[in-house]
Amino acid sequence: MSGSNDYKAGLLEKMPKTIKKMFNWGRSFSLWPVHLVTGCCSPEYMQLFGPRYDLERWGVLPLASSRQSDVMIFVGNVARKMMIRAKRVYEQMPEPKWVYVIGACASSKGPFPESYSLVRVKDYMPVDMFVAGCPPKPEAIHYGFLKLREKVLNEVEEDGSKEVVRTT
Protein backbone atom coordinates (compact mmCIF):
# COMPACT_ATOMS: atom_id res chain seq x y z
CA MET A 1 0.00 0.00 0.00
CA SER A 2 2.79 2.41 0.76
CA GLY A 3 4.98 1.33 -2.12
CA SER A 4 3.95 4.31 -4.13
CA ASN A 5 5.36 6.76 -1.62
CA ASP A 6 8.57 4.86 -1.02
CA TYR A 7 9.59 4.94 -4.60
CA LYS A 8 8.79 8.58 -5.06
CA ALA A 9 10.85 9.46 -2.01
CA GLY A 10 13.65 7.03 -2.78
CA LEU A 11 14.52 8.39 -6.14
CA LEU A 12 13.98 12.07 -5.68
CA GLU A 13 14.81 12.41 -1.99
CA LYS A 14 18.42 13.47 -2.25
CA MET A 15 17.94 15.73 -5.23
CA PRO A 16 17.79 19.50 -4.87
CA LYS A 17 14.37 21.07 -4.63
CA THR A 18 14.45 22.57 -8.12
CA ILE A 19 15.19 19.24 -9.75
CA LYS A 20 12.44 17.64 -7.72
CA LYS A 21 10.07 20.35 -8.82
CA MET A 22 11.06 19.86 -12.42
CA PHE A 23 10.36 16.14 -12.34
CA ASN A 24 7.05 16.69 -10.61
CA TRP A 25 6.15 19.15 -13.33
CA GLY A 26 6.98 16.53 -15.93
CA ARG A 27 4.87 13.92 -14.19
CA SER A 28 1.96 16.29 -13.80
CA PHE A 29 1.79 16.91 -17.53
CA SER A 30 2.13 13.29 -18.49
CA LEU A 31 -0.54 11.30 -16.67
CA TRP A 32 -1.16 8.30 -18.88
CA PRO A 33 -4.22 6.32 -17.83
CA VAL A 34 -4.27 2.58 -18.34
CA HIS A 35 -6.96 1.06 -20.52
CA LEU A 36 -8.94 -0.99 -18.05
CA VAL A 37 -12.64 -0.64 -18.59
CA THR A 38 -14.48 -1.93 -15.57
CA GLY A 39 -17.97 -0.62 -16.00
CA CYS A 40 -20.50 1.46 -17.79
CA CYS A 41 -19.10 4.97 -17.40
CA SER A 42 -16.80 4.07 -20.27
CA PRO A 43 -18.75 5.86 -23.05
CA GLU A 44 -18.57 9.06 -21.06
CA TYR A 45 -14.89 8.46 -20.42
CA MET A 46 -14.34 7.97 -24.16
CA GLN A 47 -16.15 11.22 -24.95
CA LEU A 48 -13.49 12.86 -22.84
CA PHE A 49 -10.86 12.19 -25.48
CA GLY A 50 -13.05 13.47 -28.26
CA PRO A 51 -12.79 16.95 -29.70
CA ARG A 52 -15.20 18.65 -27.35
CA TYR A 53 -13.31 17.88 -24.16
CA ASP A 54 -9.94 16.71 -25.47
CA LEU A 55 -8.01 15.69 -22.42
CA GLU A 56 -4.82 15.37 -24.46
CA ARG A 57 -4.47 19.13 -24.09
CA TRP A 58 -3.21 18.33 -20.60
CA GLY A 59 -0.95 15.56 -21.79
CA VAL A 60 -3.31 12.77 -20.79
CA LEU A 61 -2.79 10.05 -23.36
CA PRO A 62 -4.88 6.89 -23.05
CA LEU A 63 -2.53 3.95 -23.30
CA ALA A 64 -3.07 0.34 -24.09
CA SER A 65 -0.63 -1.32 -21.78
CA SER A 66 -0.33 -1.25 -18.02
CA ARG A 67 3.45 -1.29 -18.21
CA GLN A 68 3.75 2.26 -19.44
CA SER A 69 0.91 3.97 -17.62
CA ASP A 70 0.73 6.09 -14.50
CA VAL A 71 -2.91 6.34 -13.55
CA MET A 72 -5.08 3.37 -12.78
CA ILE A 73 -8.59 4.28 -13.77
CA PHE A 74 -11.72 2.56 -12.54
CA VAL A 75 -14.45 3.45 -14.97
CA GLY A 76 -17.71 2.55 -13.32
CA ASN A 77 -18.73 -0.51 -11.37
CA VAL A 78 -16.10 -3.02 -10.31
CA ALA A 79 -17.22 -6.62 -9.94
CA ARG A 80 -15.43 -9.09 -7.73
CA LYS A 81 -14.25 -11.01 -10.76
CA MET A 82 -12.78 -7.83 -12.22
CA MET A 83 -11.17 -6.72 -8.95
CA ILE A 84 -8.88 -9.77 -8.92
CA ARG A 85 -7.55 -8.73 -12.33
CA ALA A 86 -7.53 -5.04 -11.47
CA LYS A 87 -5.23 -5.71 -8.53
CA ARG A 88 -2.94 -7.56 -10.87
CA VAL A 89 -2.92 -4.70 -13.34
CA TYR A 90 -2.17 -2.33 -10.48
CA GLU A 91 0.80 -4.48 -9.51
CA GLN A 92 2.02 -4.53 -13.11
CA MET A 93 2.18 -0.78 -13.31
CA PRO A 94 5.54 0.81 -12.55
CA GLU A 95 5.95 3.23 -9.68
CA PRO A 96 4.96 6.00 -9.16
CA LYS A 97 1.28 5.37 -9.80
CA TRP A 98 -2.02 6.88 -8.89
CA VAL A 99 -5.55 5.54 -8.64
CA TYR A 100 -8.49 7.47 -10.00
CA VAL A 101 -12.02 6.24 -9.38
CA ILE A 102 -14.78 7.41 -11.71
CA GLY A 103 -18.44 7.02 -10.92
CA ALA A 104 -20.67 6.21 -8.00
CA CYS A 105 -20.53 2.43 -8.49
CA ALA A 106 -16.80 2.14 -8.07
CA SER A 107 -16.82 4.52 -5.11
CA SER A 108 -19.74 3.11 -3.14
CA LYS A 109 -21.65 0.59 -5.29
CA GLY A 110 -23.91 3.45 -6.37
CA PRO A 111 -27.38 2.37 -7.48
CA PHE A 112 -26.67 -1.30 -6.69
CA PRO A 113 -26.16 -1.30 -2.91
CA GLU A 114 -27.51 -4.85 -2.49
CA SER A 115 -25.53 -6.34 -5.36
CA TYR A 116 -23.77 -9.58 -4.47
CA SER A 117 -21.11 -9.08 -7.11
CA LEU A 118 -19.91 -5.49 -6.88
CA VAL A 119 -17.15 -4.21 -4.60
CA ARG A 120 -15.83 -0.82 -3.63
CA VAL A 121 -12.37 0.10 -4.86
CA LYS A 122 -11.30 1.78 -1.65
CA ASP A 123 -11.46 -1.53 0.18
CA TYR A 124 -8.70 -2.91 -2.04
CA MET A 125 -6.24 -0.19 -2.93
CA PRO A 126 -5.30 3.38 -2.03
CA VAL A 127 -7.35 5.84 -4.03
CA ASP A 128 -6.12 9.29 -4.96
CA MET A 129 -9.22 10.74 -6.52
CA PHE A 130 -12.95 10.05 -6.57
CA VAL A 131 -15.44 11.55 -8.97
CA ALA A 132 -19.11 11.08 -8.16
CA GLY A 133 -21.93 10.80 -10.66
CA CYS A 134 -23.77 8.11 -12.51
CA PRO A 135 -22.20 8.58 -14.94
CA PRO A 136 -20.21 11.74 -14.17
CA LYS A 137 -20.24 14.24 -16.97
CA PRO A 138 -17.02 14.61 -18.94
CA GLU A 139 -16.50 18.02 -17.38
CA ALA A 140 -16.42 16.35 -13.97
CA ILE A 141 -13.93 13.68 -15.04
CA HIS A 142 -11.87 16.42 -16.64
CA TYR A 143 -11.94 18.40 -13.42
CA GLY A 144 -10.90 15.32 -11.51
CA PHE A 145 -7.91 14.90 -13.77
CA LEU A 146 -6.89 18.50 -13.19
CA LYS A 147 -7.20 17.99 -9.44
CA LEU A 148 -5.09 14.85 -9.70
CA ARG A 149 -2.58 16.83 -11.68
CA GLU A 150 -2.35 19.39 -8.90
CA LYS A 151 -1.82 16.58 -6.46
CA VAL A 152 1.02 15.18 -8.52
CA LEU A 153 2.54 18.59 -8.99
CA ASN A 154 2.55 19.39 -5.27
CA GLU A 155 3.33 15.82 -4.23
CA VAL A 156 0.30 15.37 -2.02
CA GLU A 157 0.42 11.97 -0.41
CA GLU A 158 -2.67 9.83 -0.58
CA ASP A 159 -2.93 9.06 3.13
CA GLY A 160 -5.12 11.47 5.00
CA SER A 161 -5.71 13.77 2.09
CA LYS A 162 -8.32 12.06 0.00
CA GLU A 163 -10.22 14.48 -2.10
CA VAL A 164 -13.73 14.04 -3.34
CA VAL A 165 -14.76 16.03 -6.37
CA ARG A 166 -18.44 16.67 -6.05
CA THR A 167 -20.53 17.29 -9.10
CA THR A 168 -24.13 17.62 -10.25
Binding site: F23, G26, F29, R57, W58, A64, P94
Partner: protein, 337 residues
Protein backbone atom coordinates in the same frame (compact mmCIF):
# COMPACT_ATOMS: atom_id res chain seq x y z
CA UNK B 1 29.89 37.38 -36.45
CA UNK B 2 27.90 34.25 -37.24
CA UNK B 3 30.02 33.60 -40.27
CA UNK B 4 33.11 33.83 -38.15
CA UNK B 5 31.66 31.48 -35.55
CA UNK B 6 30.70 28.91 -38.16
CA UNK B 7 34.14 29.22 -39.71
CA UNK B 8 35.77 28.79 -36.31
CA UNK B 9 33.73 25.70 -35.56
CA UNK B 10 34.40 24.25 -38.96
CA UNK B 11 38.11 24.65 -38.67
CA UNK B 12 38.66 23.69 -35.07
CA UNK B 13 35.89 21.48 -33.86
CA UNK B 14 34.59 19.94 -37.04
CA UNK B 15 34.44 16.22 -36.17
CA UNK B 16 33.29 16.89 -32.62
CA UNK B 17 30.69 19.37 -33.79
CA UNK B 18 29.33 16.92 -36.31
CA UNK B 19 28.99 14.11 -33.83
CA UNK B 20 27.69 16.05 -30.88
CA UNK B 21 25.71 18.92 -32.37
CA UNK B 22 24.69 18.63 -36.02
CA UNK B 23 23.73 16.22 -37.49
CA UNK B 24 24.80 14.16 -34.50
CA UNK B 25 23.28 13.36 -31.16
CA UNK B 26 21.74 16.71 -30.28
CA UNK B 27 20.09 17.15 -33.64
CA UNK B 28 18.75 13.61 -33.66
CA UNK B 29 17.37 13.91 -30.15
CA UNK B 30 15.80 17.29 -30.77
CA UNK B 31 14.36 16.24 -34.08
CA UNK B 32 12.93 13.05 -32.57
CA UNK B 33 11.25 15.05 -29.84
CA UNK B 34 9.99 17.44 -32.46
CA UNK B 35 8.72 14.60 -34.65
CA UNK B 36 6.68 13.05 -31.85
CA UNK B 37 5.22 16.42 -30.93
CA UNK B 38 4.58 17.15 -34.59
CA UNK B 39 2.83 13.83 -35.02
CA UNK B 40 0.66 14.37 -32.00
CA UNK B 41 -0.32 17.86 -33.03
CA UNK B 42 -0.81 16.96 -36.68
CA UNK B 43 -2.90 13.87 -36.03
CA UNK B 44 -4.90 15.76 -33.45
CA UNK B 45 -5.76 18.41 -36.01
CA UNK B 46 -6.89 15.72 -38.43
CA UNK B 47 -9.08 14.33 -35.66
CA UNK B 48 -10.55 17.83 -35.11
CA UNK B 49 -8.78 18.08 -31.76
CA UNK B 50 -6.11 20.34 -30.31
CA UNK B 51 -3.48 17.89 -29.16
CA UNK B 52 -1.11 18.99 -26.37
CA UNK B 53 -1.75 22.61 -25.42
CA UNK B 54 -0.95 23.41 -21.85
CA UNK B 55 2.54 22.03 -21.27
CA UNK B 56 4.81 24.93 -22.04
CA UNK B 57 1.84 27.22 -22.59
CA UNK B 58 2.44 27.73 -26.33
CA UNK B 59 1.05 24.84 -28.41
CA UNK B 60 2.27 22.38 -25.83
CA UNK B 61 5.82 22.57 -27.10
CA UNK B 62 7.19 21.19 -23.82
CA UNK B 63 4.86 18.17 -23.89
CA UNK B 64 7.52 15.71 -24.97
CA UNK B 65 9.97 17.09 -22.43
CA UNK B 66 7.39 16.43 -19.74
CA UNK B 67 6.80 12.91 -21.03
CA UNK B 68 10.51 12.21 -21.14
CA UNK B 69 11.07 13.55 -17.62
CA UNK B 70 8.30 11.35 -16.33
CA UNK B 71 9.48 8.25 -18.15
CA UNK B 72 13.04 8.75 -16.95
CA UNK B 73 11.97 8.59 -13.31
CA UNK B 74 9.59 5.66 -13.67
CA UNK B 75 10.41 2.30 -12.18
CA UNK B 76 12.04 -0.16 -14.57
CA UNK B 77 10.45 -3.59 -14.37
CA UNK B 78 12.06 -6.74 -15.67
CA UNK B 79 9.33 -9.27 -16.38
CA UNK B 80 9.51 -12.62 -14.65
CA UNK B 81 11.50 -15.25 -16.54
CA UNK B 82 12.72 -12.74 -19.07
CA UNK B 83 16.28 -12.86 -20.41
CA UNK B 84 17.31 -9.77 -18.50
CA UNK B 85 20.65 -8.99 -20.16
CA UNK B 86 19.23 -9.25 -23.65
CA UNK B 87 16.08 -7.43 -22.59
CA UNK B 88 18.22 -4.49 -21.50
CA UNK B 89 20.93 -4.57 -24.16
CA UNK B 90 18.72 -4.97 -27.20
CA UNK B 91 16.60 -2.03 -26.15
CA UNK B 92 19.63 0.13 -25.51
CA UNK B 93 21.19 -0.78 -28.84
CA UNK B 94 18.04 -0.21 -30.84
CA UNK B 95 18.30 3.58 -31.36
CA UNK B 96 22.00 3.34 -32.12
CA UNK B 97 21.46 1.56 -35.41
CA UNK B 98 19.41 4.11 -37.33
CA UNK B 99 21.46 6.86 -35.70
CA UNK B 100 24.61 5.25 -37.11
CA UNK B 101 22.99 5.14 -40.53
CA UNK B 102 22.20 8.86 -40.34
CA UNK B 103 25.97 9.45 -40.09
CA UNK B 104 26.18 8.66 -43.80
CA UNK B 105 23.60 11.20 -44.98
CA UNK B 106 25.11 14.40 -46.43
CA UNK B 107 23.60 17.61 -45.05
CA UNK B 108 25.64 19.97 -47.21
CA UNK B 109 28.19 19.47 -49.96
CA UNK B 110 30.85 17.32 -48.38
CA UNK B 111 29.24 17.51 -44.97
CA UNK B 112 28.31 14.21 -43.30
CA UNK B 113 29.42 12.73 -40.00
CA UNK B 114 31.11 9.81 -41.69
CA UNK B 115 32.52 11.81 -44.53
CA UNK B 116 33.83 9.23 -46.98
CA UNK B 117 33.40 8.62 -50.65
CA UNK B 118 32.38 5.27 -52.02
CA UNK B 119 29.81 2.68 -51.06
CA UNK B 120 27.88 4.81 -48.56
CA UNK B 121 24.50 4.01 -50.06
CA UNK B 122 25.07 0.29 -49.67
CA UNK B 123 26.44 0.81 -46.19
CA UNK B 124 23.29 2.68 -45.22
CA UNK B 125 21.10 -0.20 -46.35
CA UNK B 126 23.37 -2.67 -44.59
CA UNK B 127 23.17 -0.84 -41.28
CA UNK B 128 19.42 -0.38 -41.50
CA UNK B 129 18.86 -4.07 -42.15
CA UNK B 130 20.21 -4.75 -38.64
CA UNK B 131 17.32 -2.87 -37.07
CA UNK B 132 14.69 -5.65 -37.19
CA UNK B 133 17.11 -8.09 -35.59
CA UNK B 134 17.13 -6.09 -32.40
CA UNK B 135 13.36 -5.88 -32.47
CA UNK B 136 13.22 -9.65 -32.66
CA UNK B 137 15.64 -9.89 -29.75
CA UNK B 138 13.51 -7.48 -27.72
CA UNK B 139 10.38 -9.43 -28.42
CA UNK B 140 11.99 -12.74 -27.63
CA UNK B 141 13.72 -11.63 -24.44
CA UNK B 142 10.52 -10.24 -22.90
CA UNK B 143 8.94 -13.66 -22.33
CA UNK B 144 5.51 -12.53 -23.35
CA UNK B 145 3.27 -13.98 -26.00
CA UNK B 146 2.30 -10.64 -27.42
CA UNK B 147 5.89 -9.49 -27.79
CA UNK B 148 6.87 -12.79 -29.34
CA UNK B 149 4.14 -12.62 -31.96
CA UNK B 150 5.15 -9.01 -32.59
CA UNK B 151 8.74 -10.14 -33.13
CA UNK B 152 7.68 -12.83 -35.60
CA UNK B 153 5.58 -10.36 -37.48
CA UNK B 154 8.59 -8.06 -37.73
CA UNK B 155 10.47 -10.80 -39.55
CA UNK B 156 7.57 -11.40 -41.93
CA UNK B 157 7.18 -7.71 -42.60
CA UNK B 158 10.89 -7.33 -43.11
CA UNK B 159 10.79 -9.95 -45.83
CA UNK B 160 7.85 -8.19 -47.41
CA UNK B 161 9.26 -4.68 -47.23
CA UNK B 162 13.05 -4.80 -47.29
CA UNK B 163 13.50 -6.55 -50.63
CA UNK B 164 11.34 -4.11 -52.62
CA UNK B 165 12.89 -1.12 -50.88
CA UNK B 166 16.41 -2.35 -51.67
CA UNK B 167 15.45 -3.06 -55.28
CA UNK B 168 13.99 0.41 -55.68
CA UNK B 169 17.15 1.97 -54.23
CA UNK B 170 19.12 -0.11 -56.70
CA UNK B 171 17.29 1.71 -59.48
CA UNK B 172 18.61 5.00 -58.17
CA UNK B 173 22.13 3.58 -57.98
CA UNK B 174 21.93 2.44 -61.58
CA UNK B 175 20.50 5.74 -62.76
CA UNK B 176 23.18 7.70 -60.94
CA UNK B 177 25.91 5.22 -61.80
CA UNK B 178 27.29 5.39 -58.29
CA UNK B 179 26.72 4.05 -54.77
CA UNK B 180 27.87 7.26 -53.20
CA UNK B 181 25.14 9.27 -51.47
CA UNK B 182 27.03 12.55 -51.75
CA UNK B 183 27.43 12.10 -55.49
CA UNK B 184 23.80 11.14 -55.83
CA UNK B 185 22.71 14.33 -54.08
CA UNK B 186 25.11 16.42 -56.09
CA UNK B 187 23.70 14.99 -59.33
CA UNK B 188 20.20 16.10 -58.35
CA UNK B 189 20.99 19.81 -58.39
CA UNK B 190 19.29 20.14 -61.78
CA UNK B 191 16.61 17.44 -61.59
CA UNK B 192 15.33 15.43 -58.64
CA UNK B 193 15.53 11.68 -59.13
CA UNK B 194 11.84 11.33 -58.31
CA UNK B 195 11.12 12.21 -61.94
CA UNK B 196 13.23 9.60 -63.75
CA UNK B 197 12.74 7.07 -60.96
CA UNK B 198 9.03 7.62 -60.38
CA UNK B 199 8.12 3.92 -60.42
CA UNK B 200 10.95 3.19 -58.04
CA UNK B 201 9.79 6.00 -55.81
CA UNK B 202 6.29 4.53 -55.58
CA UNK B 203 7.77 1.20 -54.47
CA UNK B 204 10.07 2.98 -52.03
CA UNK B 205 7.22 5.02 -50.57
CA UNK B 206 4.97 2.01 -49.97
CA UNK B 207 7.76 -0.14 -48.55
CA UNK B 208 8.79 2.84 -46.42
CA UNK B 209 5.68 2.26 -44.28
CA UNK B 210 6.67 -1.35 -43.77
CA UNK B 211 10.16 -0.28 -42.72
CA UNK B 212 9.06 2.42 -40.28
CA UNK B 213 6.27 0.15 -39.00
CA UNK B 214 3.54 2.70 -39.05
CA UNK B 215 -0.06 2.34 -40.25
CA UNK B 216 -1.16 0.89 -42.62
CA UNK B 217 1.75 -1.46 -41.98
CA UNK B 218 2.11 -1.15 -38.21
CA UNK B 219 1.57 -4.88 -38.09
CA UNK B 220 4.30 -5.77 -35.54
CA UNK B 221 2.87 -3.45 -32.92
CA UNK B 222 -0.75 -3.77 -33.99
CA UNK B 223 -2.32 -2.11 -31.01
CA UNK B 224 -5.71 -3.76 -31.21
CA UNK B 225 -4.20 -7.22 -31.36
CA UNK B 226 -0.84 -7.11 -29.64
CA UNK B 227 -1.12 -4.14 -27.24
CA UNK B 228 2.28 -2.57 -28.04
CA UNK B 229 3.82 -5.42 -29.98
CA UNK B 230 7.42 -6.11 -29.15
CA UNK B 231 7.69 -3.21 -26.71
CA UNK B 232 4.76 -4.20 -24.52
CA UNK B 233 6.89 -5.14 -21.52
CA UNK B 234 9.22 -2.15 -21.53
CA UNK B 235 8.73 0.40 -18.79
CA UNK B 236 10.01 3.85 -17.94
CA UNK B 237 13.33 4.84 -19.42
CA UNK B 238 13.58 1.68 -21.51
CA UNK B 239 10.24 2.42 -23.09
CA UNK B 240 11.49 5.90 -23.88
CA UNK B 241 14.52 4.27 -25.43
CA UNK B 242 12.47 2.02 -27.69
CA UNK B 243 10.29 4.92 -28.77
CA UNK B 244 13.46 6.85 -29.52
CA UNK B 245 14.64 3.98 -31.69
CA UNK B 246 11.32 3.98 -33.48
CA UNK B 247 11.42 7.65 -34.35
CA UNK B 248 15.12 7.70 -35.25
CA UNK B 249 14.26 4.87 -37.63
CA UNK B 250 11.60 7.08 -39.19
CA UNK B 251 14.10 9.93 -39.37
CA UNK B 252 16.72 7.74 -41.05
CA UNK B 253 14.38 6.37 -43.71
CA UNK B 254 12.84 9.79 -44.35
CA UNK B 255 16.30 11.32 -44.74
CA UNK B 256 17.16 8.53 -47.13
CA UNK B 257 14.06 9.24 -49.18
CA UNK B 258 14.82 12.94 -49.29
CA UNK B 259 18.40 12.17 -50.24
CA UNK B 260 17.60 9.69 -52.98
CA UNK B 261 14.54 11.22 -54.59
CA UNK B 262 14.08 14.83 -53.51
CA UNK B 263 17.49 16.27 -54.00
CA UNK B 264 18.74 16.17 -50.42
CA UNK B 265 20.24 19.49 -49.42
CA UNK B 266 19.72 21.05 -52.86
CA UNK B 267 17.56 24.12 -53.00
CA UNK B 268 17.58 27.80 -53.83
CA UNK B 269 20.25 29.64 -51.84
CA UNK B 270 18.57 31.69 -49.15
CA UNK B 271 21.38 31.49 -46.63
CA UNK B 272 24.88 32.45 -47.62
CA UNK B 273 26.42 29.54 -45.80
CA UNK B 274 26.11 26.20 -47.69
CA UNK B 275 25.73 24.25 -44.42
CA UNK B 276 22.89 26.41 -43.17
CA UNK B 277 21.29 26.35 -46.57
CA UNK B 278 21.59 22.58 -46.89
CA UNK B 279 20.30 21.96 -43.38
CA UNK B 280 17.38 24.30 -43.97
CA UNK B 281 16.30 22.62 -47.16
CA UNK B 282 16.73 19.09 -45.88
CA UNK B 283 14.66 19.88 -42.78
CA UNK B 284 12.07 21.67 -44.86
CA UNK B 285 11.63 18.65 -47.09
CA UNK B 286 11.63 16.36 -44.09
CA UNK B 287 8.78 18.23 -42.43
CA UNK B 288 6.68 18.14 -45.59
CA UNK B 289 7.41 14.44 -45.97
CA UNK B 290 6.44 13.74 -42.37
CA UNK B 291 3.16 15.57 -42.89
CA UNK B 292 2.40 13.33 -45.86
CA UNK B 293 3.40 10.28 -43.85
CA UNK B 294 1.09 11.21 -40.97
CA UNK B 295 -1.78 11.81 -43.37
CA UNK B 296 -1.31 8.34 -44.79
CA UNK B 297 -1.07 6.89 -41.29
CA UNK B 298 -4.47 8.25 -40.39
CA UNK B 299 -6.21 7.39 -43.65
CA UNK B 300 -5.90 3.63 -43.86
CA UNK B 301 -6.77 0.59 -41.83
CA UNK B 302 -3.99 -1.79 -40.89
CA UNK B 303 -3.30 -4.60 -43.32
CA UNK B 304 -3.22 -8.18 -42.19
CA UNK B 305 0.24 -9.77 -42.25
CA UNK B 306 -0.61 -12.06 -45.16
CA UNK B 307 -2.01 -9.12 -47.10
CA UNK B 308 1.17 -7.15 -46.45
CA UNK B 309 3.34 -10.02 -47.64
CA UNK B 310 1.16 -10.46 -50.71
CA UNK B 311 1.46 -6.76 -51.42
CA UNK B 312 5.23 -7.00 -51.12
CA UNK B 313 5.77 -10.10 -53.24
CA UNK B 314 3.00 -9.85 -55.81
CA UNK B 315 3.07 -6.13 -56.52
CA UNK B 316 6.07 -4.31 -55.11
CA UNK B 317 8.87 -6.67 -56.12
CA UNK B 318 7.66 -7.06 -59.75
CA UNK B 319 7.21 -3.28 -59.92
CA UNK B 320 10.70 -2.72 -58.58
CA UNK B 321 12.15 -5.21 -61.10
CA UNK B 322 10.23 -3.52 -63.88
CA UNK B 323 11.68 -0.23 -62.72
CA UNK B 324 15.16 -1.72 -62.86
CA UNK B 325 14.65 -2.93 -66.42
CA UNK B 326 13.22 0.41 -67.56
CA UNK B 327 16.08 2.24 -65.86
CA UNK B 328 18.69 0.08 -67.54
CA UNK B 329 17.03 0.43 -70.95
CA UNK B 330 16.65 4.19 -70.73
CA UNK B 331 20.08 4.79 -69.30
CA UNK B 332 22.16 2.46 -71.46
CA UNK B 333 20.07 2.07 -74.63
CA UNK B 334 18.13 5.29 -75.07
CA UNK B 335 20.59 7.73 -73.53
CA UNK B 336 23.54 5.53 -74.40
CA UNK B 337 25.16 5.43 -70.93
Amino acid sequence: MIDWLIEFIRVNLDPLFKIIIFPGITFIMLFTIFAVWYQRKFLARLMLRMGPVHAGRVMGWLQLIADSLKLLTKEIIFPAYSYKKLFLLSAITLPVIPAAAIALIPFAPGYAIFNVKGYTGLLFLGIMSLYPIFIVLMGWASNNKFTLIGAFRTIYLDVAGEIPIFLSVLGVFIWAGTYDLQDIVAMQSSMWFVIPQFLGFIVFFISYFAMIEKAPMDIPEAETELVFGYRTEYTGALFLDTMLGDYINILAWSLMMVTLYFGGYNGPAIFPDPLLNGAFWILFKLIILLAITFTVIISYARLRIDQAIRLGWYYLIPLALLNLIITVIIKYVVLGG
